[in-house]
């Protein structure tokens, strides 16, 4: 659903990356630089600087974890979806997020890190995931608003990643982005229908917009002035557009959609600036954002504990599959002998 558009270091001591042998050969570095400068793609078998590999593993694994943790807030409403059509749409959507997790774990594996290593990073609390999923889904309207705004913000972030310099990531993102655009449309459409309904339903939509709007603006990461790592990401072609540019693009695209929908965006400073030809908007609460990133948001503990529980309670199933496969192999060898 969402990748961090900014660098959030995993906690100290994180050793989830199995680094391939590195080389200081200046010719290799020069060839890498030339390809990056020519906007070419780096493939798994190509030489790459260790810092590039490490940055990618961290970003792709955080993205994968975000997809998987992101299944929980929306999954929260599957059992209570108010119509069979919405139930089917929601299951399909959450399932897509699981699929995105799979592509992304696979993309990260091409850099030499196993899914087990990445999951270990998530479960031990070292690896981060998108902080947006540390907020609760309190009503059914949250499902629509997550599609419209959270997925909308994610698309802004992710479309540029389809041109990311690392081939497997870029190709995964092409497919992810196609599905995300469906997710966004289904969310917006669900809200449009609710806004034709009862007064309670309309109030539910407005309440959800009020709770998610600022969190979505924060999803783009700190202002460019406070993002020291962004420059390196830009140089490497991993990051293509700055946090503030993406955020502005999102605000400009969303304001007219809110008008059509008939909801108010909860920002008294939100107004058109004719000079800039953009909407101005108010101050984001970065202190609250960093508290949540650092583990002290409303649902951090619940999200992580739920993932850990599923993993631990599924251990016997995974063990059974491996043991059965080994037994089968042993039997076929014996038969062949």
């Amino acid at each position: 659903m969402y990748t961090q558009s900014f660098n959030v270091p995993d906690s100290p001591g994180a050793k989830t990356v199995a680094l391939a042998p590195s080389s200081d050969d200046p010719a290799l570095q020069a060839a890498f630089d030339t390809r990056i400068d020519a906007d070419g793609r780096i493939e798994p078998q190509d030489w790459m600087p260790e810092a590039y590999r490490k940055t990618l593993v961290r970003q792709i694994s955080q993205h994968a974890h975000s997809e998987i943790v992101g299944m929980l807030p929306e999954g929260n409403w599957i059992s209570r979806a108010p119509s069979l059509k919405r139930k089917a749409i929601l299951i399909a959507k959450v399932q897509d997020e699981g699929g995105h997790g799979l592509y992304l774990y696979s993309a990260a594996e091409t850099l030499g890190t196993s899914r087990d290593q990445m999951l270990d990073g998530l479960h031990s609390g070292r690896a981060k995931y998108s902080s947006i999923f540390n907020y609760p889904t309190l009503t059914w309207a949250d499902v629509g608003v997550i599609g419209w705004l959270v997925d909308g913000a994610a698309i802004m972030n992710q479309v540029p990643l389809c041109r990311c310099s690392y081939g497997p990531y870029a190709r995964a993102m092409v497919r992810v982005c196609k599905e995300e655009s469906f997710h966004q449309r289904q969310g917006y459409e669900a809200l449009l229908v609710m806004m034709t309904g009862t007064e309670e339903q309309k109030a539910m939509v407005q309440d959800a917009v009020n709770r998610w709007w600022w969190k979505c603006l924060a999803m783009f990461g700190p202002p460019d002035a406070d993002s020291p790592n962004s420059a390196q990401g830009m140089r490497w072609g991993i990051k293509r557009v700055s946090n503030d540019e993406l955020r502005q693009k999102f605000v400009d695209a969303t304001v007219p959609q809110a008008k059509v929908l008939g909801v108010t965006l909860p920002d008294p400073d939100l107004k058109w600036n004719a000079e800039r030809q953009h909407y101005d908007y108010g101050q984001i609460d970065w202190a609250e954002f960093w508290e949540t990133v650092n583990g002290n948001g409303p649902c951090n503990k619940e999200r992580l504990a739920t993932r850990v529980k599923a993993h631990n309670e599924g251990q016997w199933v995974r063990d059974a599959a491996l043991t059965h496969a080994a037994k089968k192999q042993a039997r076929s060898i014996k038969e062949a002998a």
Partner: protein
């Protein structure tokens, strides 16, 4: 017409209730691939339920819709097999809580899919052309469900000591509920007489063969069953369906005039 409605509701309720149960795994599967697989099974079942409810709504006419049938009927009006409403764990009272157990899920999906792979095939010849068309679509889906659940049944049964014991315990718990497959309700009899439904007892030998072959491969013992035969398809359910429906229907019922 009433015979058709009762029979279609039985098929629809089966699909919806099991679809609702399987969706409980979404986000909590033992491995990501299984999360995705179980969601897929659930989507197929909910899709089947929708088609069947739409058919019932068309037969009933008036303002009946698929959602009225799913969300505004009470427990005693549901016609699903009791097997399908049970939580994903061993035998416990209705309000007792326990973690999801994959063994229970797999065994139930296997026992039911083995039946439906036969039943949908037979229903392709139903006198009701709409039902025959739904059966043709559902048959393709249930063959995948059967393959998925059978593969896992074998892995669990012929896996570790723990997985073998757990799979056997799930089988011991659930097998008695399959007796309901073979007990004719008045609705079954009416549907068979009208040429709409199928006499399930004619499928029993084939079902036994599918089940016995899989259990043999999984090194599991088929439990002997006797005693109480559940009556879910006649509207007499376990303690569990009430909780399932209370949750599923809560939002729709809180906003009876809502549009979604």
């Amino acid at each position: 017409m009433s015979a058709a409605i009762d029979y279609l509701l039985h098929l629809a309720d089966n699909a919806l209730v099991l679809g609702q149960r399987n969706a409980e795994w979404c986000g909590h599967g033992p491995i990501l691939e299984e999360d995705i697989a179980l969601s897929n099974v659930s989507l197929d079942l909910i899709g089947q339920a929708r088609l069947l409810y739409q058919l019932v709504a068309a037969l009933k006419g008036g303002d009946c819709t698929e959602d009225k049938l799913a969300y505004f009927r009470d427990t005693h009006e549901f016609r699903n097999y009791t097997l399908l409403e049970l939580p994903h764990h061993g035998p416990l009272s209705g309000y007792a809580q326990s973690s999801l157990d994959y063994g229970t899920t797999i065994v139930r999906n296997f026992l039911y899919s083995a039946l439906m792979a036969l039943l949908w095939e037979a229903l392709e010849k139903s006198a009701n052309a709409d039902l025959a068309a739904i059966a043709a679509k559902s048959l393709k889906e249930v063959r995948y469900h059967l393959r998925h659940s059978r593969d896992w049944l074998v892995r669990l049964g012929d896996g570790t000591d723990e997985s073998h014991a757990r799979a056997q315990a799930s089988l011991d718990h659930l097998f008695a509920y399959t007796q309901e497959f073979w007990a004719h309700s008045p609705a079954d009899a009416a549907a068979i007489a009208a040429g709409i439904g199928v006499d399930v007892t004619t499928l029993r030998a084939d079902w036994d063969a599918i089940v016995d072959a899989a259990l043999n491969e999984a090194t599991l013992q088929r439990p002997a069953v006797s005693g109480y035969v559940t009556e879910g398809k006649q509207g007499i359910h376990s303690e569990h369906l009430g909780f399932l429906l209370a949750e599923m229907q809560s939002l729709a019922r809180a906003h009876p005039n809502g549009v979604w």
